[in-house]
Assembly symmetry: C2
Homo-oligomer: 355 residues x 2
Amino acid sequence: MTHNFFAGPAILPQEVLAKASESVKNLTEMGLSILEISHRSEFFANVMTEAEAVCRRLLNVSDDYAVLFLTGGASSQFFMAPLNILPSGESAAYIDTGAWSTKAIKEAKHYGNIVEVGSSKDANYNYLPEIESDLSKYKYLHLTSNNTIFGTQYQEFPDVGTPLVCDMSSDIFSRPLDVSKFDIIYAGAQKNMGPAGTTLVIIKKSILGKVDRHIPTMLNYETHIAKGSSFNTPPVLPIYVSMLTMQWVERHGGVAAMKVRNEEKATLLYNEIDRNSLFKSAVSEPYRSKMNVTFLLNDESHMDGFLAACKDNAIVGIEGHRSVGGFRASIYNAMELSSVQHLVDVMKSFEAKNG
Amino acid sequence: MTHNFFAGPAILPQEVLAKASESVKNLTEMGLSILEISHRSEFFANVMTEAEAVCRRLLNVSDDYAVLFLTGGASSQFFMAPLNILPSGESAAYIDTGAWSTKAIKEAKHYGNIVEVGSSKDANYNYLPEIESDLSKYKYLHLTSNNTIFGTQYQEFPDVGTPLVCDMSSDIFSRPLDVSKFDIIYAGAQKNMGPAGTTLVIIKKSILGKVDRHIPTMLNYETHIAKGSSFNTPPVLPIYVSMLTMQWVERHGGVAAMKVRNEEKATLLYNEIDRNSLFKSAVSEPYRSKMNVTFLLNDESHMDGFLAACKDNAIVGIEGHRSVGGFRASIYNAMELSSVQHLVDVMKSFEAKNG
């Protein structure tokens, strides 16, 4: 068995992969592969309906919001969000927690007055900056809920007198959420939701249609709302497997159960990092992500040795991002506690030999 | 066996589906599914390299051109092409052969002076308009090489003194191509190239960087050229299966062999449509598509009967698009001659009972 700690595309539940493999071979309903059926077929129309419905059930999304399955990744939402909802001349607040936030700020600047109301750049993004309590003069506050690269995560979302726009690519469906705080939630599927190739957008319908600028048809959220995410051919397989993964979350107790499961895994791993004499966390306690656990060596000369130990023990995807160095263990919903225990055992054994 | 005549997403080769199913279960190289490996993994880096390389080999694409695998479908290329290459105030020529062309014209109008130099709207797009021989005053001429809905197809591409920009979504890789005539070729994968979820763009590099307007990072072709289609997470499975499908084309003799194979299938079916007393072609002879064969009943009261006969004989996806009515048989590369023969047999048998 391979233990998959990739940051994304990332581990998916074994039963989802088995069902997906079967459907690529043959959808029993039609005698065809999921890869060769029309997006207008009854089968796929039902997939799209259920993908939206299971997302609504999991996050308790009200009818005030649309649920869309688009493409282009979170990287496209960096400009689509302000393009659609920030009138020229108006201001929006952004917090820079590194990488994705930085890119979101760069893209948004072309549409309005973007004010960086917080940044942790001064410490290579190893913490989350404080947020002012009143940001009501801004159209919205943009956050990255979980920073995949640096391993930081908001445990609570702030009440700042303005709606939130949030990139949840790496922690959507990992815990319960009060959707009513948000104007837009967006997430690339390829971490906690499914395979690469689709992007979830949950958007408050009443905020749309209020900017004057030209929006190309495919970039206008209203296009996709009107056509149920099928204005053009949607990415059939990525949406289908995302549906299967969301259904798996639901069968396993929903996002409340995921929260418990994810906290158990994160606690096990952070405890070992804090205990083990060879390692240290890259992020201090209150800011630590329960999805992407970044950690460093006290003595970097052990780097090759620990990577080799991981490889020998069928642990993949553990190398840290070049912006942080060290290691990163991504422990998304589908990761079993036993795989985290396996990593912890390898860390203990490595300490015994090298400590 | 089901005979899959869907217009797109559409039939893929059985051996591609078998390999894809296996890879969704387990990539033997890693012990993981293709759906859960990092786009930065060596395995997927090799997939991306080979996807580009096999495309270049099949169409003889020179180094003057970039080969990109993006998302957003041809519908996104409708605005991305002029956004990137048409300076404000300059003119481009478009031919309206229906549906996709019409949408391409609508999107392009926001970026320059779009001149419709031909249209077949007067006859519900059942023919291809003549093209003026000198269009050199335009930046480019935009064409839809094959109209999936109406069943028309250019058999030759015109020399008009200006480069072509062409939507080849439904006939890419169906025949040899002189890429040097084109500034941009784009194609949604989900007809002849692979499953839904990626978009091929072949683009002449020297035409880029010449417009003044702001282009969001993700919409700028130069972003994706610089990063080998991996600026953000690419749609892993759709690109992987597209690679497998292009390799299948190569193993079966390349695009020259596909042309022969496709002509044989099209001839068989059009001959039957012309012969059979119950049916008539929706398109006159010189304009007929070898990919999407549209045909009508002489007496529409046979509609339900023929659809039932198709259903009884495991023929799916044969209903015509609402813009044309009647029937549409999409006979892409992966369609076997024997399936077209099967459809012809059903047509003959239907005539024998109802003629």
